[in-house]
Structures are given as C-alpha cells and as structure tokens.
Symmetry: C2
Subunit: 350 residues, 2 copies
C-alpha cells in the first residue's frame, strides 16, 4: 500500500491553494531523511520496510500519539517543535527500557488549516532529532481529517536481551533517582501561555526549550542497561509528572517510595520563574509532566559505580529518596514530616 514517507493518496487537496501539489510535498518530505542504520534491507517506500536485527539484541517497540489542542497548542509549539517532540516522546520510552533507538514510523493526520510549509517544518523537526540520534525513518502514512492534526509515532530500538528495566523492579532498600531537573517543561508551557512566544526572556529560555524540544535521556538509559544485565533496576520516563511516575513504580513493585523534598533538583530558571509569577514550583515538579528525564531505583551497592559512570559522561544523577516495604504508596518527606503524595497526572488541556 505505502509508497513513500508521507505516502498519501488520501491527503485532501487544499482548495485554498495552500497545499497545491501533494506529490511534490511527499517527494520533498521523503527525500530529506538520511540513512544511518546498516540493518535496513528494504527502506521505506514499498508495502513495508524490512530490517535485519543484530545478533543477541532484543527489539523494543512503542507507539505514542499527539493530538492538536489536546497534547499541544499551536500557540506554544511551532510546527518544528511538534515534529521534533512527536519523535522525542517515543524515543524517551525506548530510553526508559535502556534501549538504543534505531527506527521510527510516522502516521500524520492533517486537518485543512495546515499549510504545506508548516508540514515541511514539522518534518524538519522530526529530521533534526533523527539526525541527532542517527535513526532511520522506516515508514509513513499521511492522511487527512477535518479538525485537529494528529501525529502518531512508532519507535523501534534494541537492547541486550538480558536487560529488563521494568517499573516493577523496585525493592526495599533501593535508592530513588532522577536523571535531570524536574518541572522545567511545565513551567515553560506556563510561561508561553502567559507571555509572547516570540519574545522569550533569556533567563527563561531553558524552560521554554524543555517544553518545546525535550531531550530524551538515551545515553542515561544505556548506562543503566549495562548495570541491569546483572542487577535489578526499575526505570520510567517522567512524562506525566514525578508524582504519577513514582506511583507507577510503587504500584507495580508493591513498595513504598519515600521522596525527600529537599533533594529534588529544581533549576535556577524554574525557581526564578516561580518567584516572578508567584506560583509554587513544586506544582510543576510533582504534577507538571513532560520532563522526559528518567526516574528509577538502584540497589545501594550499585550507586557509586553508576554515579561514576554518569560523571564520566558528564551526565547528572540525583538521589531523591528511597524504597521501603509497602503497598504501592508514595510518601513526601517535608520538614521532617511524612505526607502521602497523591497521584495526579498531567492534565494537558483537558
């Protein structure tokens, strides 16, 4: 059936002349992606693509979908960002399994209010991350809808077949860690919803970037995968806020997670922006979401070697709490008091 990235007999021709030549658009899009992976036997362009997996490697697959006005608003995301982020959120899931990303496939459902220039920008956003990660586009489908663009990405990666970085792996005695600062993406969204997006203050640019162009923690996942060949490590990516992700690990592992509020890594930009707009930065930390850093647990005897490996690579590892016996609870330690931290996912624009 498929012929090309953004193969689409069905993409509605724009009567307002915005998208005049579908085939020229498809050709521009499909021509732009590079080939990095040597395992590709039949590239994107026939009914399906074919690749040869590496010996001893298991395949990791996941799909994630972004819908206009549900998961993103055009007032805070340029088309480039939407394309980039649609791939990034899936790669983040590969990273959370310790995987090396290899391939991705795109389903793009376009509504009539998008121009061909905007679609090209979106594709440039996908391409920029694909180039950065050396991953190949293996399939695409572009169709039309009446309202609200939908972009759905399937990512494929590989990992040593002995690695299981499951959220059910946490054990009492483990430490709890995150691989980056929390809350920046949600604060960046807040900033853009309350300020002009073409005049972002230098001080808050990192927050806006965290919202628009999140970096999946592939390298961090890869290091943890090496240790996971022999040891039990839990891992999640922080897509729905710290509280929600901690609850997922606590529930799956049937343990109690204690988070020490004083140890949570908050960026200077986040603290500064929270002060300026008189908001509680911890709201973004706990319930914000879309940080796409990794959260996980480590047996104590591993901590110094994992930390050393992270430091060698110039990466951050923040110890933010520990695991106790329990039944799927998350506790926040604040001023010496233990309070239950309730699960409250990121609400998007719902």
């Amino acid at each position: 059936m498929k012929k090309n990235f953004f193969c689409s007999e069905e993409l509605t021709m724009k009567k307002n002349g915005k998208i005049e030549d579908e085939f020229s658009l498809i050709a521009q899009m499909s021509g732009g992606f590079s080939s990095y992976q040597k395992g590709v036997l039949v590239p994107n362009g026939d009914d399906a693509a074919i690749y040869k997996p590496q010996n001893g490697k298991a395949q990791i697959v996941c799909v994630d979908t972004m819908v206009e006005d549900i998961h993103f608003k055009r007032e805070t995301m340029e088309p480039f960002h939407i394309g980039y982020k649609s791939v990034a959120v899936n790669i983040s899931d590969i990273a959370a399994m310790g995987g090396e990303p290899l391939y991705f496939l795109v389903s793009l459902v376009v509504s009539p209010d998008w121009t061909s220039d905007e679609l090209m920008e979106m594709y440039q956003g996908m391409k920029s991350l694909a180039d950065h990660l050396s991953i190949d586009l293996l399939g695409g489908d572009t169709v039309s809808t009446k309202k609200n663009l939908v972009v759905s990405v399937t990512a494929i990666g590989q990992v040593d077949e002995k690695v299981r970085l499951l959220r059910s792996n946490a054990q009492p005695g483990d430490i709890l860690f995150v691989t980056g600062e929390l809350g920046d993406a949600a604060a960046g969204l807040d900033y853009l919803l309350n300020h002009k997006k073409d005049q972002v203050e230098h001080e808050f640019a990192t927050l806006v970037r965290a919202h628009q162009l999140p970096t999946p923690h592939v390298q961090q996942g890869g290091i943890l995968a090496e240790f996971a060949i022999t040891d039990q490590i839990a891992l999640n990516d922080v897509s729905d806020g710290l509280a929600s992700e901690a609850h997922e690990i606590a529930t799956s592992s049937e343990v109690k997670i204690v988070i020490d509020k004083d140890k949570l890594p908050l960026s200077l930009a986040l603290i500064s922006y929270a002060k300026e707009c008189k908001k509680d930065p911890y709201h973004w930390v706990f319930n914000g979401g879309e940080d796409f850093v990794l959260i996980g647990t480590l047996p104590k005897h591993l901590v110094s070697s994992v930390r050393e490996k992270f430091e060698q690579e110039g990466l951050s590892l923040y110890e933010i709490g520990w695991i106790e016996e329990g039944k799927g609870e998350v506790i926040l330690l604040e001023d010496g008091k233990r309070l239950p931290l309730h699960k409250q996912g990121y609400n998007h624009f719902g």
Copy 2:
C-alpha cells in the same frame, strides 16, 4: 509512559456519562488480548514492549491509518468492522512482503461521539483477527480528539532475510497475477451506501463482507516468499484498485504491464450486483480498491510450480496479463485492442 493497551490519562471523560470509567474500560480492553508469540520478553504494559527476533529472520514493519469519514463511514462499518479492518490493512502490507505477521501496536484517537460499548466492539474486531492470525498486541495508546475517530496500526512481521518481494522486481517476459477476485470490496461499499445495512440480501453478502472484513492474503504471500528466496518476484497488495497498483509495479520496475480484460476474475456476486444497479463492474475492479488481494509478477518458469503450491493449499492464482519492455505504462487488452489504462486511485469519500 505507557502502561496498558489503551493506556490513556488523556482520554477525555465523557460528560454525558457514555464513558464513565476510563480505567475500567482500559482494563477490559487490555485484559482481552491473548499471548501467542513466544518471543515476547516484556509484554505491553511498561514504557515499551520487548521481543526477541528469531534467528535468520528479518523484521518487517509498516503503519497505516484510518480516519472516520475519510477512510470509513459509520453507516457502512460497525465498530467491530473498523477494529478488524484497521489491523487487516496493515497485515495485508506484511503479506505483500511475503511476511509472517507477529505483532501489532494501536494508536486510537477517540472523538466524544463514541461510546465505551462501541470502543469495546472495535477492540473485539481487532482481537478476532489477532486470534485468527495468532499475533500479539505489543503496544497501545488511546487519546481523545474533538471530531473524527482515528485508528493507526503498526504491524510487525518476519521473513527470511533473503526474501525481497519488491514492486520493482517485474521483468519483461513475466506473467502478471492476482490472488483473488477484484472489485468486491468497492461494490460492497456501493451496496451499503444505497441499501439498508441491516437487510443485506444473501446474494450480495460476500460483497459486503469484502468491504467490512477483508482477509489479508498472508498464506499466499508466504508461498510466494519461498519462491522469492531464489527468484525475482514483484508483489503489491491491492489497496487502491488494480489500475493504481499495476501502475506502481510498472513505474517501479520500468516496464510495460499488459492486462487482459477477459482474464480478470470477477465474482458472480459482483456481476450480478452490477447488472442489478446498471453499473459497470470494471469501474470497481480498476478503481475500486480495498480488495487486499495480492498482485504480482512471476518468471514464466515458476508459474506451474507456484500454481501447484497454491492449489495444494486450496488457494487461487489468476494469471491476468504479462510484462513487456516499456517505461512505466499499463495497457488494457480489450477485444483485441490495446488501450492505456490510466492510474486512478480509490477516492474514498474525498
């Protein structure tokens, strides 16, 4: 990020009480799929799924998307059919590469006019084909949109790494074949658009079934793959009508395809329905689409052995033309005359 088939913090709660309990819906959906594939190391339910590929097998991947009111209308497709067909059209692409289907992932974008019962029926449709083919659901994402349901499926299969059933493989001297009757699906759609769908006449039930519950030709693709280890065979699935698919092969292979109109396999139901409604059945054959049979070319020396293998399995193989030297043309031989057959894809409801 993902937790479950139809994991979805984002699925909008229905205020009219139609979908009252999102988590109960998710649990019902995710609990229903069976596990057939022994290669699954981490099933659907963590950030991503992990599977171990078989030695010597290449992996086939493709994605395809169906949008309400663009690719299907609820007046001709029950939710069960939509679910079934969303998987079938992707498996058809795996079949067109000669592959054995193994896994699929689903992205479902739900608009507020769908009830939880209808979503459950849709999932039952997916499950019925998954059970029939012994394939495992490896990932899912359910999110909301404002209008028009979108279902996007990624299929994964495997094939001997030496097999290349490419549309660019046709060579002058080859014969042209299809693996099933043509035009039924489009005639079935026509029937449903012009008749009451709950009172389908027995005589035309096969047409309606071809539209609603197409059978991907996996077994046929598998037989052709065995011959393709040593020989050059072109293959496509007929998703956009015979004319369009023949043009794809002719263009990719840089050959001339001659189709003998007298040899085209038309079902009795199609001929009978065309007569009843005074329409030209060949319109559906050439431009109808969605038959999901396979079209391909075979070197002459293979024809009798391929035919024998098909007959042993009770499968059909129709020789409908041949390949000549040329430059991407398709010719229709009718009453001894040669006429150019123009490419005209299936227009859906555009």
